[in-house]
C-alpha cells in the first residue's frame, strides 16, 4: 500500500458561495414567521414547535449516536466523514433554545400540565408521579446535560487527537461510547415519551421510544449522507469512494426497513389487542382526512425510499443518494407531523403557521455547519484508522 503522508491541506474551509447567507436568511425568515405564528395562535404554534424540536433532536442525538457507534463498533469506513456527524451533533447545544418557547406553553400542549384537567381525571392522577411539571423539567435538564457532556467529551478528544496524534484517545472514546450507549437508549426513550406520547396522556405505546429511535437514526444517516456528498462535491472532503457511498446507502436502506418494521409492529399490536385506551390514537389518525396522511406516510417514509434504494447501483450513485437523503429528511419531518399534529386538531391542519418552523431547522443546520467548517479540521487527521478509511473497500 502507498505510504505517502496524508495531506489534507488542499481541502477548502468554508461552505461554497452563498450557502451561509442562504442559511442565515432561512433562519431569519423562519424565526420571524414562527414568532408571528406564536402571536396569532400560540397553541397551534406550540405543536409545530414540538415537531421542530423533535426533528432537530433527531439530527443532533442521531449524529452523536453515529459517532459513538463508530467508536464502539470499531468501524473504519466512516472515520473519513466522522466530522460531519460531530458537526451535526453540535445541534444539541441549541436544543434548549428551541424548546424554550414550549416551556411557556406546556399547558397548551399537555393535559397533564393543567391542574384543573388532572383534578377531574383519575388516569392522569394515577400517572402524576411521572407526569408532573417538576419531574418533567428535571428529566429535560438531565437529558440535555448528559448529551452536552458526551458531545463535549467526544469532540474534545477527537480534536485533541488532530494535534497530538495520540492513539490512546481512540481507546478513551471507545470507553466513553460504551457508557454513552445505554444512557442514549434511556434518554431518547424518555424524550419520545415526554414530548410526544404525553401529548395524549391517556395513550401509551411501549414501542414509541424505539419508533422515534428508528426515525432518528434514519434522519441522521440521511443528513450525514447528504452533507458528506455535498462536502465532497465542493472540495471540503476528500473523494468518497463507491464503497463509502454504498455503506451510507445500505445504512439508509436498513433503517427504512427498520422504521417500517417498528411502525407496523406498533400498529399491529394495537390493532390486535383492540384496547380502547390504545386504539383511539390510531382512530384519530384514520378519520377527518388524517387517513390520507397516514397512507401517504407509508408511501413517503417506506415505499418510495425502499424501491429507490433497492438496487445496488442506487446505493453508489451520489445523485440518487442526495435525492433520497433529502426525501428521507422530509419523510422524518412528515412522520413527526403525523405523530404530533392529530392531537392538536381532528382535521388535517397545515398552513403558514407550520411553514416557519422547518425553515428554522434548515437554516440552523446550515449556519451551524458554516461555523463548524471554519473552526475545525474537516477530516480527523489524527485518527489511527484514517488511512484504512481512505483505502476502505467492501
Amino acid at each position: 500500500m502507498s505510504s505517502t503522508p496524508l495531506n489534507f491541506d488542499n481541502l477548502k474551509k468554508s461552505l461554497p458561495g452563498k450557502t451561509t447567507v442562504t442559511g442565515w436568511t432561512l433562519l431569519a425568515i423562519g424565526i420571524v414567521v414562527s414568532a408571528a405564528a406564536y402571536l396569532v395562535d400560540a397553541e397551534r404554534s406550540a405543536f409545530s414547535n414540538v415537531i421542530l424540536f423533535m426533528f432537530l433532536a433527531s439530527l443532533a442525538i442521531g449524529g452523536l449516536f453515529l459517532v459513538a457507534l463508530e467508536y464502539i463498533s470499531g468501524a473504519v469506513w466512516s472515520v473519513l466523514m466522522r466530522r460531519v456527524n460531530e458537526f451535526m451533533a453540535g445541534l444539541v447545544l441549541i436544543l434548549p433554545l428551541v424548546a424554550l418557547p414550549l416551556f411557556f406553553n406546556l399547558g397548551h400542549l399537555f393535559h397533564w400540565a393543567r391542574p384543573e384537567a388532572v383534578a377531574g381525571d383519575s388516569l392522569l392522577q394515577a400517572k402524576e408521579p411521572y407526569l408532573n411539571l417538576n419531574f418533567f423539567v428535571v428529566r429535560f435538564i438531565v437529558t440535555m446535560v448528559v448529551w452536552w457532556l458526551f458531545y463535549w467529551l467526544f469532540t474534545r478528544n477527537s480534536k485533541k487527537q488532530d494535534t497530538t496524534k495520540d492513539q490512546k484517545i481512540t481507546r478513551t472514546n471507545v470507553k466513553l461510547a460504551a457508557v454513552f450507549m445505554p444512557l442514549f437508549a434511556v434518554s431518547i426513550t424518555f424524550l419520545a415519551i415526554d414530548w410526544m406520547m404525553s401529548i395524549e396522556a391517556h395513550w401509551y405505546s411501549t414501542i414509541l421510544g424505539v419508533y422515534y429511535f428508528s426515525g432518528t437514526v434514519l434522519a441522521a444517516v440521511a443528513a450525514a449522507t447528504y452533507i458528506a456528498i455535498k462536502f465532497m462535491e465542493n472540495g471540503l472532503l476528500p473523494t468518497l469512494k463507491r464503497d463509502h457511498l454504498y455503506s451510507l446507502g445500505t445504512l439508509m436502506f436498513v433503517f427504512v426497513n427498520f422504521w417500517a418494521y417498528i411502525a407496523f409492529s406498533q400498529f399491529m399490536l394495537t390493532w390486535y389487542a383492540n384496547l380502547p385506551e390504545e386504539t383511539f390514537w390510531f382512530m384519530k389518525r384514520w378519520k377527518e382526512g388524517w387517513q390520507f396522511v397516514s397512507v401517504a406516510l407509508i408511501i413517503v417514509h417506506f415505499a418510495v425510499p425502499y424501491f429507490v434504494l433497492l438496487a445496488q447501483d442506487a446505493k453508489m450513485d451520489p445523485k440518487r443518494l442526495k435525492f433520497i437523503a433529502i426525501w428521507i429528511l422530509f419523510a422524518h419531518l412528515f412522520d413527526l407531523y403525523w405523530l404530533v399534529m392529530p392531537s392538536f386538531k381532528e382535521t388535517v391542519t397545515l398552513g403558514w403557521v407550520e411553514i416557519g418552523f422547518p425553515l428554522i431547522a434548515v437554516g440552523a443546520v446550515i449556519v451551524l455547519l458554516s461555523y463548524k467548517v471554519r473552526k475545525n479540521n474537516l477530516v480527523p487527521v489524527g485518527d489511527p484508522k484514517l488511512e484504512r478509511a481512505l483505502n476502505f473497500r467492501l
Partner: protein, 380 residues
Amino acid sequence: MKDTQHLYSVAATFDTPDEITHAANEVAKAGYTRFDVHTPYPVHGMDHAMKLRQSRIGFFAFAFGAMGTLTAISFISWIALSDYPLVIGGKPFWSWPAFVPVSFELTVLLASVLSTLAMIVIYFKFPNVSHPLHDTPYMKAVSADKFGINIESVDPKFDEAKVSELFKKLGARNIALVYYDAASITNRPRLFEPKFISILVAVALVVSGTTYFTLNKVLYWEPFSWMMDQAKLKAQKPSELFKDGIGMRPPVEGTIARGFLPYPFKGQPDSAGKYLLNPLLPTKEVIERGRARYLTFCSPCHGNFGRGDSRLAGQFPNPPTLHSDKVRSWPDGNIYHVITEGQNVMPSYARQIARDDRWAIIEYLRVLQRAQNAQEADLR
C-alpha cells in the same frame, strides 16, 4: 508429476481484496474464460472485475420470495375463510394485518433457503460432492485470510508456464499447481456409501433417542415437572376441591339454558298434538336437513322409508310402520312429543336431536308418508 493425476489448474493467492480484484480483471482481460476466484468473504465489484454477466440470483430470489408470500397468503386465507373460520377478537375472518408477520417470515425463509439450495444444485452440481480444489492448501488459505484465483487447465488459452508468469507479474504471494485424481471426481451420488449411511443412521439414532429421552423422561424430573403440577382440574381426574369429586359443577337446579324453554307437555301427548305447531316450512333445505337427521337417528329402527323394517335384525323389537293411518293422521305435535319423550321401547331422543331438527325430521316424514301413499292427483 504423478501418472494417475491430472492438472486441474494453476492457483495463486493474494493478500488484499484490491490485489485480487486487479488480478481478476487482468486475467479476464488476457482472454481467459475458465477461471474462478475464491475469497474469505464476498468482495464487492468482483463480478464486474471478472467480466461476468449480471447475476440472475436476484430474480431467482425474487421468484422464491414471491412464492413464499403467495403460499403464506393463500394458505392463511384458505384456513381463515374456508377450512376453519374462527372469529378472533371480533375481527373479520380475513384480517390482513395478522397475516403480515407470517407472510413476511415465509417470504424471507423461502427466498433464502431455496436460493441457497438452488445454488448448491446449479454451481456445486449436487449430488456430486467432490471437487479438485477440496483439501488443497489453496482452499485452506482462501477460506482463512487469503484471496485466491485459479485458471483451469481446460481453458482454451491455458498454458502452464504462461499462466504462472502472469500470476507472478500480478504479484501473487503463492502460486501452486493443483492436481486431482480422476477417480475421485465422480458425478455418482455418494449418498449410498456405507460410511455416509452409517453416519446418517447414527445421527438419526442419537437425535431421536435424545428427543425420546427428553420428552418422556427428563420432562418428568424435578424441576421440569413443576409445570405439570398446576392448581387446576385435569380432564378425567377427580376434583380434590369438591366433596363429590366432580370438577365441572352442574348448573343450579331449575337453570334454563339460553334460548331453550323446558318442554311443557311432559306426559301429555294429546296436548302436544293440540298446541304444538311445526315452526318450519317444508322447504327444500328443511327437508334435506330432516332427511339427514332421519337417516342418522331414526332409520336404524324405523327403516330408511319408515316401514318399520329395522336394520338391526331383531336385536330390538321392530317398531310399527310409520305409514299407518294412525301416524298419518297424527298432528305434527304428537310425533314431536314421541321423539322428545319416547314411547314404549323407544327412548327419548331429546338429547341427540336438536329442537329444530326434530321438526325437520317430521317434515321429511310427511314427505315419506305422501310418497308411500301417492294419490292419482299427485301424478297429474
